[in-house]
Amino acid sequence: MAYARGGPPATVDEPAPPPDRPPAAVPAPARDSAPGRFARDRVLLLAMLPGLGLLLTFHYLPLLGNVIAFQDFQPYLGLGDSPWVGFANFRVLVEGDPLFLRALRNTVVIMLLQIGVVFTLPIALALLLDSLLSERLKRIVQTVLYLPHFLSWVIVVSIFNELLGGSGPVNTFLRRHDLATLDVIGNAAVFKELVTGQVLWKEAGWAMILFLAALSRIDPELYEASAVDGAGRMRQLWHVTFPGLRGVIVLLLILRLGDALTVGFEQIILQQQAVGLDASEVLDTYVYNNGIVMGDWGVSAAVGLVKGLVGVALVLGANKLAHVFGEAGLYRREAR
């Protein structure tokens, strides 16, 4: 029953409960000493164990495995016997190894394309859909548009290859009508645009529903009041709709920033054979190709580690910035 109080967690040296407290109807010990709390919460503690064990094993143990970034790791020697090399593996980053720079450049270009296109179009789509008057039509369009989110990248890439490939229906149609064919599949020159198009096809509908949810929370009275004050549609958009969307936009941008250096690993690895590494190597595929395929474990782990740290720094930094501008961001610091 101590739970219902909702107070701060009890500590060992907290004074004993007031004597006027009603006698416990349950035999469960509600003592505030550590053994007492252990007895009281043993079921909860037991419940947490399996999930916690999995998180520790497959999430936190690998984080420790990052020490190989400081080793000349040899799989047959293992973590214990591989020689330590200090920061030698990080030289690739500092000295600008051309293969690393190529991966970095591709990553940044794809990221900018994706934030520019895949972030803005769903907002426009949500505004368009929100302005429809028929609820049924809204539901149908939503249902259709966010279906691709649930398809795997293998399926999405297959669909694109089949439709836009050299012998696909689009090019067959163009050829029969003596029009210029669309050379996008396996074409290194437009690979980044193709990748962005695929992300748009897969995720635009999904991103859209998050914005739609935010739009539906805007108080209709605000629109009515602004209309009474003589605001036209454009002014309503600017003064009512956008402020209502700002929170979600900031939240999604922060989340995206955390993954800023993660640009579609599965998606790209699937198509790398066809376009070559020059156009398609990004940081994640560099880590995979260089480390697991080529066996340069230490350097790859170093690149992966720095990439992870940059991601965390970006999220925390963006969140801080959001707080400065008075947005809630990812989390609000608890008022204490």
């Binding site: 990052n66 789509l125 008057l133 795997s152 399926i155 955390g258």
Partner: protein
């Protein structure tokens, strides 16, 4: 709101129709091609929008034997076992964390939130799985993905919203924490649990990279790897890969594999859609 002028409405209609067509037409084409006859596929340049005549030859060939039935069985196994494990561990962990003031809940919660921020890299993840001796075991695809910290956070928020009076009255009636979970909390959380379960299931069914990384033995490949080999990489399906000696057209076979990999998603989609519109997850994302 007054309806906007006619040209605006027409323009909206056109834009939305085009958007929907971009999603629907590829699906229709894939299904149609998988059902089309050889003559029609040749005639239409490899992709059929509306089949003249329906032929199940490709499906018959795929399911008589060879790689596809095995891959489907593997994927179904991984999906069922994985989802069951994920739902159980996620629910228990979220429940264990849902009582403010309980012993050790704060440090554990920090670990869960920390797991959201710090994702292990590819190489350390691979080393962990190989050190544990899980390479080439189906567990390698299941265990690393079993607990999603994000789902734990969502579910915990949901559990904490359950009125404290309900829990209190059960406790007065003599229920322990275990009974409170099974008699009060779980029945009240069916909707959110089914959404989270479906998300896990879709994730396991779609698992591609973990399978590529950890399952080297081609006999253990799930459907996504088969799809990559024969559809994305265009490797020819021969008599060894299908059950019949008389081969249907490659295009039809490829499309049929694609359909097989999409159908389970289409089957669960209406359920996701139904519970999703209640705002279960959208609300949680913001909260």
């Amino acid at each position: 709101m007054t309806p906007p002028p006619m040209p605006v409405r027409a323009l909206k209609g056109v834009v939305l129709t085009v958007c929907c067509a971009l999603v629907v037409v590829p699906f229709a084409g894939i299904v149609s091609t998988s059902l089309a006859t050889r003559e029609q596929i040749v005639r239409s340049g490899g992709f059929v929008i509306v089949p003249d005549e329906i032929s199940f030859a490709a499906y018959r060939a795929l399911f008589t034997g060879g790689v596809v039935p095995r891959a489907v069985a593997v994927s179904v196994l991984i999906t069922l076992v994985g989802t069951a494990l994920s739902l159980t561990t996620t629910t228990l962990l979220a429940y264990g964390l849902s009582r403010p003031g309980s012993l050790a809940h704060r440090p554990v919660l920090m670990l869960v939130v920390g797991a959201l921020l710090f994702t292990p890299g590819i190489i350390p993840g691979y080393l962990t799985v190989s050190t544990l001796g899980l390479l080439d075991s189906y567990w390698s695809v299941i265990l690393p993905a079993a607990v999603s910290a994000f789902n734990v956070v969502i579910l915990r928020a949901f559990f904490m919203d359950i009125p404290a009076e309900l829990v209190e009255s059960a406790r007065i009636d003599g229920a322990g924490d275990g009974q409170i979970l099974t008699r009060i909390v779980l029945p009240l959380s069916k909707a959110v649990l089914s959404v989270i379960g479906l998300f896990y299931a879709v994730g396991y069914w779609n698992a591609f990279f973990t399978a590529l990384l950890y399952l080297n033995d081609a006999a253990k490949w799930p459907i996504q790897l088969v799809l990559r080999t024969y559809v994305v990489n265009q490797q020819q399906l021969g008599v060894d890969q299908v059950g019949t000696a008389e081969l249907p057209p490659q295009e039809a076979l490829q499309m049929a594999i694609l359909v097989v990999s999409i159908v389970p998603i289409l089957l669960v989609y209406p359920f996701i859609q139904r519970h999703f519109t209640k705002g279960v997850l959208v609300g949680a994302v913001k909260g």
